[in-house]
């Protein structure tokens, strides 16, 4: 705290320090949520500028890092909001066929879920697994990705997400349902199928 205070006693004269201290951290935080490096870079820049603008209101009630992360979070949400405006509604419909293929005419499983029998905590220590997660997340179509990230990674509630994405509550649930359906299938194909093959050998 003392260290931070001394640096920030005069942030206005020393903005470079902020970037050196928190830039990489904020960049990682952003990149894990928006995936595109240029978008993440811009969000970090906007965060620092907003922080400069509102620094006089900062009361040291939280750490600088937490404060900056809060600003970045809002910037990330704004990004999803803007993106949703540009996107066509039709990606709610996309992927629909693939999902329908999982079930037969009577709504019974055609491609049955496998037995994963896995502990997320243990899997998460494996670099390869994180790569697969990344790949699956980037494969989600626009609004589904936004909805899922906002819900499960940023931690927003559904009501807020509907507002941010400007969709009805029902559509919001549909987006989340489809995103989850896609992600679990993607993990099954790209991770668990291989694991099971290895184990059965």
């Amino acid at each position: 705290m003392n260290k931070q205070r001394s640096i920030l006693n005069n942030p206005i004269e020393n903005p470079e320090k902020w970037v050196d201290l928190y830039g990489d951290y904020l960049y990682r935080f952003a990149l894990y949520r928006v995936y595109e490096t240029t978008v993440a870079e811009d969000l970090v820049q906007e965060t620092f500028l907003a922080a400069l603008g509102s620094f006089k209101n900062f009361q040291y009630r939280s750490s600088i890092k937490t404060w900056l992360t809060g600003i970045l979070k809002n910037k990330i949400i704004d990004h999803f909001r803007k993106q949703a405006k540009e996107q066509q509604m039709n990606d709610i419909e996309s992927n629909i066929n693939k999902l329908e293929d999982l079930f037969d005419q009577n709504g019974h499983w055609k491609i049955k879920p496998a037995n994963w029998n896995a502990d997320p905590q243990k899997l998460y220590d494996q670099k390869e697994f994180i790569k697969v997660i990344h790949k699956c997340l980037t494969g989600l179509p626009g609004r589904q990705a936004s909805a899922f990230i906002l819900r499960e990674i940023v931690g927003e509630n559904t009501k807020e997400i509907c507002k941010i994405l400007d969709v009805s509550t029902t559509n919001c649930w549909v987006l989340l349902h489809r995103a989850r359906m896609y992600l679990r299938r993607c993990l099954e194909i790209n991770w668990f199928a291989n694991v099971n093959v290895r184990e059965s050998i």
Partner: protein, 91 residues
């Protein structure tokens, strides 16, 4: 659709929704009845919970795990310059 007639497709939709809102009683009942009889939907339910936990880990790990992800020095420089410009403008 009557609760005791929910099929797998319907149940997967309700399982997802139950992560985002409180379902009405008859839907919860229908889901429970179906899950008792259907091993695949039970697996699906486990997998949704798995996804949620994984997303949480992902969210937490973004902050400190992969330290090799860094701002490039050019971008860092660009940001610093934009901050200096910002301060000049608002002096």
């Amino acid at each position: 659709m009557k609760p005791w007639m929910f099929n797998c497709k319907k149940v997967t939709q309700l399982l997802s929704e139950s992560l985002d809102r409180n379902l009405p009683l008859y839907q919860r009942m229908g889901m429970r009845i179906h899950l008792m009889m259907c091993k695949f939907c039970s697996r699906y339910k486990e997998q949704l919970l798995f996804l949620r936990k994984t997303a949480r880990l992902y969210s937490e790990s973004s902050e400190d795990s992969d330290l090799s992800i860094q701002l490039s020095s050019e971008v860092g420089q660009r940001i610093k310059e934009s901050m200096v410009r910002f301060l000049k403008k608002h002096e």
